[in-house]
């Protein structure tokens, strides 16, 4: 069989690289099992808050100090208050975390915000002419969500929490300064060849 030497080289090069980096995968099964156990409904929902505030692990929060500080503020408030808060309702906590983790459908913006003791949380942005779309926290665990169907594109937005604007969503793709304040930005679709 006529093998293209470039193909063979590429194959070899990639395989060799993976086997030389085998250390990266050591203990992966255990780490995954641990994380999945953490997500089980029984555990405190504070872990859920941490998961929500740090969706893709270290790097993301580490990059934007301000965001980290704000998220930490939420976590601290949660830790202080959380112990006394009873688990509300019979719906397992895993469901609200899953809501965030569930692969979002095409053409959808999913907003998730931990906002304890907030009475009113909404999102304003370029997808709704900056008019509030309310988030809801049906099970009262302090985690507010909303789903908005949008065509693919770029969307700027901010949360309004009890009347105060907050523009540093940890789940954003990027941030911009607008009128002297932060806004969050997300992209839906794109980044390819129509993929």
């Amino acid at each position: 069989m006529n093998t293209d030497p470039l193909e063979a080289l590429l194959r070899e090069a990639l395989r060799q690289e993976v086997s030389s980096l085998a250390g990266s995968l050591g203990g992966l099964e255990e780490r995954i099992a641990e994380e999945l156990a953490d997500r089980a409904p029984r555990r405190g929902w504070i872990d859920g808050l941490k998961q929500l505030a740090a969706p893709t692990r270290a790097a993301r929060l580490g990059q934007v100090a301000v965001v980290a500080a704000t998220a930490a503020a939420f976590l601290i408030v949660g830790a202080i208050v959380g112990k006394d808060l009873p688990l509300v309702g019979s719906r397992p906590k895993a469901e609200s975390r899953e809501a965030m983790l569930r692969a979002t459908a095409e053409n959808e913006l999913l907003f998730v915000l931990p906002a304890l003791h907030a009475e009113d949380v909404s999102v304003v942005g370029s997808f709704n002419d900056w008019e509030p779309t309310p988030l809801s926290d049906e099970d009262g665990d302090g985690i507010w969500t909303a789903r908005v169907t949008v065509p693919p594109g770029r969307y700027e937005y901010a949360f309004v929490i009890d009347g105060r604007w907050w523009g540093q969503d940890p789940l954003a793709d990027e941030y911009v300064r607008s009128f002297g304040e932060y806004s969050s930005v997300r992209y839906v679709g794109g980044g390819g060849d129509g993929v």
């Binding site: 293209d4 470039l6 080289l9 090069a13 060799q16 993976v18 060849d193």
Partner: protein, 179 residues
């Protein structure tokens, strides 16, 4: 050796040990995919981990009609794409050193160098060309499956691979001497 469907059914019932077995079977393939797409070890580790978490969490949505590998690879590919998008606005300024071994015999070193060169050339390709090449020549997938994973038509996959190889050859220039 348990068959995959049994393991998946057990995983669905919360048996993390069964999922662990799935991870063991697919982790090299997923890691290789991520490393190929992202060309960054730390990101590849992150995304490999996240991909298996997300696949487990969404296991209910996996339909047995599609190949499981396609499904897992699609999750990984999507996460990679998101990470690349994020990296564009939050670049890491570490140089990814692609260093070979220390006291290898000359032939080993020469082969290592060729590997290094082709990986560097791969890194210089745009994502749209790099991804199909990785799926084809690392993961050994059929054109149809590559198309499913990347969400592009089979014909486009073939074109991209063809052009991708041409671009690699260009970047490699004289160095790509088959021996």
């Amino acid at each position: 050796m348990q068959d995959e469907v049994t393991l998946l059914r057990a995983s669905l019932q919360g048996e993390t040990a069964a999922w662990g077995e799935i991870v063991t079977r697919y982790k090299d393939a997923v890691f290789g995919l991520c490393l190929g797409f992202l060309r960054n070890r730390a990101d590849a580790e992150d995304i490999t981990h996240d991909a298996f978490i997300r696949a487990y969490v969404n296991l209910r949505r996996y339909r047995l009609d599609k190949r499981f590998s396609t499904w897992v690879f699609t999750i990984a590919a999507n996460l990679c794409r998101n990470r690349l998008r994020y990296r564009r606005t939050h670049p890491v300024f570490e140089v990814e050193t692609d260093s070979g071994g220390g006291t290898d015999p000359a032939r080993e070193v020469a082969r290592e160098e060729r590997h290094v060169h082709v990986r560097e050339a791969l890194e210089r390709l745009p994502y749209a060309y790099r991804a199909p090449l990785v799926l084809r020549f690392y993961n050994d997938l059929a054109y149809r499956e590559i198309g499913d994973i990347l969400g592009i038509p089979e014909g486009t996959v073939k074109t991209r691979i063809h052009r991708g190889k041409a671009m690699l050859k260009e970047h490699l220039g004289e160095e790509r001497d088959p021996s």
